[in-house]
Amino acid sequence: MSIRSQILLAAGSVAAMLALAPAYAQETVKIGLILPMTGGQASTGKQIDNAVKLYMQQNGDTVAGKKIEVILKDDGAVPDNTKRLAQELIVNEKVNFIAGFGVTPAALAAAPLATQAKIPEIVMAAGTSIITERSPYIVRTSFTLAQSCTIIGDWAAKNGIKKVATLTSDYAPGNDALNFFKQNFTAGGGEIVEEVKVPLQNPDFAPFLQRMKDSKPDAVFVFVPAGQGGSFMKQYAERGLDKAGIKVIGPGDVMDDDLLNGMGDAALGTVTAHLYSAAHPSAANKEFVAAYKKAFGQRPGFMAVGGYDGIRLIYEALKKTGGKTDGDALIAAMKGAKWESPRGPIMIDPETRDIVQNIYIRKVEKVDGELYNVEFATFEAVKDSGKTKK
C-alpha cells in the first residue's frame, strides 16, 4: 500500500467517523441503494429498484416527520464498486442506511463500512448464510440458500425420491446449495448417484445432461445462476430427460418468476422450494402483484419482494425510533420485527438479524396460459440453518 493510499484511507475513516455524529436533527433520511443495474445481475437490481419505488408510492415518502430520500447507485455486481459507492454514500451523502446488494461479494464488501459507520445495511438480495455474521449492523430481508435447499432436501427424501443426481454451478452459492441439499437429503435416507459441478460460464449443458441421464436418477437437483435456468430446462427437455421420468427439483431461484415464462413448457412439473411465488394465494400478495404489474408491466419475482420488505423494514424501524436515525437504535427496532409480507408472514430473527419465513414447495403449472410456481406445501417459520455453529 502506497503512502498516498494510506493517507486517503485515513482521511476516509476520519470522514466516516464524522459522518456518524448523529447529533444533527435531520429533516431528511437518506437511503443509499446500491444495486447491480447493469451487467448480468441487472434484473435483480431492476426488480428491487421497482419494488422500492412502488412501496414509496403506496406509502408516501414521509415517515415519522422525516422525508425519505433514496439515492440509487449502480455497482454492476462488482464488489470493488460496491465498496467505493458505499463509502461515497456514507461520507459524502451522509446516508442513514445502505441497502440493496445483488450478490454476496457485494454485501460482504460493504459490511466493514456499515460496522465502522454504525449504520444499518439492509441486504435485499444476496443469499449466503455468512453475510449477517460479518457486521452487527446487517439485517437481511431476502432469504438464504440454506433455507430453501434444506427444505427441498427434506421434502425429496420424504416424497419417494431416492436417487438424485446433482448439477450445480461451481461457485460459492452453488456449492452452498449442493451441501445443504445433500446434508438433509442423505440424512433423510436419499442417495446422491452423480454429482456434477458445471463451470459458471458454461456454454452448453449437453454433456452434463447426458451424464445425468445415464446415471438414471429419480430426480435432478439443479442450481444455476438466474438466466441459465432457461437454457438448462430447454436442453433437459431436448435430451428427453423428462420422458425418461427424471424430475427436476431445486431451490426456487432457478424458476424465478420473471424467467419462468421464457422457459416454455419444458419447465412444467418442476418442483422447487422457495420463499415467494407470484401465485402465492393471499390478499396481500394479490394486491402487490396487481400494483407491480400495473406500474412496471411485468410480474414481480422474489427479488422484488426482498426489496419491498426491505424498504418496509426501514419505514417500520423509523416509526419505532420516532424518526431518530441512530444506527444502534434502528437495529434494535428492526430486531424481532414481524409483518405480513406478500410472501406470507415474516420476522427478523432478533439473534441473527436474518429473516425467518415460510418456505413453500411449489410445482410449475399453467395458470391462464402462463407458467406459475403453484404452492402445494408449506414449511412454516424456517430459520437459516447455515449459520456458524456456536
Binding site: V196, D204, P207, Q210, G227, G230, S231, R239
Partner: protein
C-alpha cells in the same frame, strides 16, 4: 457404446456451430490480416434480430435465419465502409483497441435496448426433442445445425477455391498492390468479404441462441472460443478452422462427459498441446508475413 455416438454427435454439432461463428474471424484475420475482436458482436446482432422477428413479429424460424445473415452482413458492410477500412493499415494494437471498444459499445447498446436477461428463440415443434437412431439419441436441433453448417462449409470452400471471386480475394490478400494493378477492385473485394464474414457470424448467432444462450454479454463470453478456433486452426485457409472447431467441439463435449471435474479445462489443454506441437496452428503457413 451408443452413448459414445451420442457424445460424438453432440460434439460435432457443437463444433460446427463454433465453426460458423468463428470462420468469419478466420477470414478477416487470416485473409485480410485484420484483428476483429468485435466479431462476436455481429453474431449477437444476428441472434437478436432472429429472436425479435420470431418472438415478437411471428416470423417462421427458417425465414428469420437468412434475415439474421443479411442484417449482420449489412451492418458489417456499413461499419467496414465507415470505420474499419481506416484501420487496415494501422498496427494490430490499434485494431485490437478499436474493435474491443466496439464490442463494449455493442454490449451496452444491446443491454439498453433489449434488457440484460437471457432470451430464447421460439422454435418450431419439429425441431424440438431427440429421436432414436439405432439406440443413439439424436437431437433434432443439433442435427439441423450439422446439416446447415456442413452445407455452408462446402459452399465456402468451393467459392474460395473455384470461383473468380475466390481467386480475386486470394490475389488481393497475397499482394494488394499487384492485384489492384491488375484491375482488381481491392477495397470492394475486402468489403464484400468482410460483410460475408459478418453475415456468417450473424447466422451463427441465431443458430447458437438455443444452445449457448443469448444475452448482451455474448461477444465477450465467446470471444475466447472464437480465438481458440482461429489459433488452433491456423488462419490461412478455412479447412484449418473447420477441423479445429470439430476437434474442440468433440473434445469439449467428451471431456465434460467423461471427466466432468476437469471438463472446462479440456479445451484449453487441447489448444496448448497443439500450439506447442505446431505454433502456427494445424494448417498455419510458417511465418507467412
Amino acid at each position: 457404446m451408443t452413448t459414445l455416438f451420442t457424445i460424438l454427435f453432440d460434439g460435432v454439432a457443437y463444433g460446427m456451430l463454433l465453426f460458423v461463428l468463428a470462420c468469419g474471424l478466420a477470414v478477416t484475420l487470416g485473409l485480410m490480416n485484420f484483428v476483429n475482436l468485435a466479431h462476436g458482436a455481429f453474431a449477437m446482432t444476428g441472434g437478436y434480430i432472429c429472436a425479435v422477428l420470431v418472438n415478437s413479429s411471428g416470423w417462421p424460424f427458417f425465414a428469420a435465419l437468412p434475415l439474421a445473415f443479411v442484417t449482420a452482413a449489412l451492418i458489417g458492410v456499413a461499419l467496414e465502409r465507415t470505420l474499419y477500412r481506416h484501420l487496415y493499415t494501422r498496427s494490430h494494437l490499434d485494431q485490437v483497441l478499436f474493435t474491443i471498444g466496439l464490442t463494449f459499445m455493442s454490449v451496452a447498446a444491446v443491454d439498453y435496448i433489449m434488457g440484460s436477461s437471457r432470451i430464447f428463440i421460439k422454435l418450431p415443434a419439429a425441431l424440438e426433442g431427440q429421436f432414436d437412431f439405432f439406440g443413439v439419441g439424436i437431437g433434432r436441433y443439433r442435427l439441423m445445425i450439422i446439416v446447415i453448417c456442413g452445407l455452408l462449409t462446402v459452399a465456402l470452400q468451393l467459392i474460395l477455391a473455384k470461383t473468380r471471386f475466390g481467386s480475386r480475394l486470394r490475389a488481393a490478400v497475397d499482394d494488394p498492390r499487384a492485384a489492384s494493378g491488375l484491375g482488381i477492385n481491392v477495397p470492394q473485394v475486402f468489403a464484400f468479404t468482410f460483410a460475408f464474414g459478418c453475415g456468417l457470424a450473424g447466422l451463427g448467432g441465431a443458430l447458437s441462441a438455443e444452445i449457448l444462450g443469448l444475452d448482451p454479454y455474448f461477444p465477450l463470453k465467446f470471444m475466447i472460443y472464437f480465438l481458440i478456433v482461429v489459433t488452433v486452426g491456423g488462419s490461412s485457409s478455412i479447412t484449418g478452422p473447420f477441423l479445429a472447431s470439430l476437434l474442440l467441439g468433440i473434445g469439449d463435449v467428451a471431456g465434460k462427459y467423461y471427466v466432468p471435474k476437469m471438463g472446462p479445462f479440456v479445451i484449453y489443454t487441447i489448444m496448448i498441446v497443439i500450439l506447442i506441437w505446431r505454433p502456427n496452428g494445424l494448417f498455419g503457413r510458417a511465418a507467412a508475413r
